[in-house]
């Protein structure tokens, strides 16, 4: 991040600085909050996190170099603040028993698209219809919340906030190759989580083409078959977060 040195012409006019801050930094509040919700995963912590980001940004606003990317600078503060002050307080999501993405696996097997389209009776259904009809906003957010933190940060910055790999590398202080691999693995995990949630919800069915679908559901302690598992059932791989969609009866 480009920043001016401490003796490099700090803004002395507080009023002007405040006006500039309100004009340039405050409009990013909504999107920073949206990101903070996915990092902190609850309203209260997200609010605290964003307040702290603005307090820090305002205090060091004199160091901000006008004309450089203010938005990226705010996100740098957001990720730093989160990493240094918040993540330890957060309960980590349970490590889901997901199949490990195999980096040599480049043929596409195992993506959400494959699971929707491969070896299914209802194959004729357009995968994009499946996406829009069976995956609700809450499901998508919950899937992101289920990602391990390092993948979640990369996914939020890239998929949700559209930052370039270079920006993300600078924010997280990691090499750009690491950004690529976190996104690759993160998205594969995200799609697996999404699919597993949908199986549990009973809105899609495990595919025989993916033994892992059956394994995960069959690992439910009481031996329920995947067919008996409905939305809200406590038979996920690992424990589920309690937030999210209201509990409903199995729809089948």
């Amino acid at each position: 991040m480009a920043r001016r040195g401490s003796n490099g012409g700090a803004m002395t006019d507080v009023v002007a600085a405040r006006q500039l801050f309100e004009k340039e930094a405050v409009p990013h509040l909504q999107e920073l909050y949206a990101s903070a919700m996915r990092l902190a995963r609850n309203r209260e912590s997200a609010e605290d996190l964003v307040s702290e980001v603005y307090a820090r940004a305002w205090k060091s606003f004199a160091q901000f170099q006008p004309g450089t990317n203010l938005r990226a600078w705010l996100y740098k503060i957001l990720t730093n603040t989160y990493i240094n002050h918040y993540r330890h307080k957060q309960r980590q999501p349970p490590i889901l028993e997901l199949d490990k993405p195999d980096d040599s696996e480049t043929g596409g097997g195992g993506t959400l698209y494959d699971r929707i389209t491969t070896g299914r009776e209802d194959k004729a259904e357009n995968p994009e219809h499946v996406l829009s009809n069976h995956f609700l906003d809450e499901d998508l957010k919950k899937a992101i919340d289920g990602l391990p933190e390092e993948f979640r940060m990369a996914v939020v910055l890239c998929d949700i906030q559209n930052f370039s790999y270079q920006d993300i590398a600078e924010m997280l202080e990691i090499p750009i190759g690491t950004v690529r691999s976190r996104l690759w693995r993160g998205r594969r995990l995200l799609q697996q989580i999404l699919w597993k949630q949908a199986i549990e919800a009973g809105v899609v069915h495990p595919s025989s083409a993916f033994p892992d679908d059956h394994l995960s559901s069959a690992s439910a302690k009481d031996g329920q078959t995947p067919q008996n598992i409905g939305r809200g059932g406590n038979h996920a791989p690992g424990k589920k977060e309690s937030h999210g969609k209201p509990q409903e009866n199995p729809s089948r």
Partner: protein, 74 residues
């Protein structure tokens, strides 16, 4: 470029993290290969859905107030 090679570049393509030549090669492949075109289109939609669903979070009024207070205080 074949299906496997284009799949390897899927995320680079979606995230605009590839050079112009590779971009053109992928576009040519997608024009000729319906299955890959469908796959890429699906991934693009999925990414868009994630983005939209997250941006629907509504920032509480109280937070804006807190931030105004911070600006007053320091």
């Amino acid at each position: 470029m074949n299906c496997e090679e284009s799949f390897e570049k899927l995320y680079g393509f979606l995230d605009k993290d590839i050079d112009g030549l590779t971009l053109t090669q992928i576009e040519i492949h997608l024009k000729d290969c319906r299955p890959c075109w469908d796959r890429f289109e699906f991934e693009k939609r999925l990414k868009e859905r994630f983005r939209k669903s997250c941006h629907k979070e509504v920032c509480p009024e109280t937070l804006l107030k807190k931030i105004k207070d911070i600006l007053e205080k320091y």
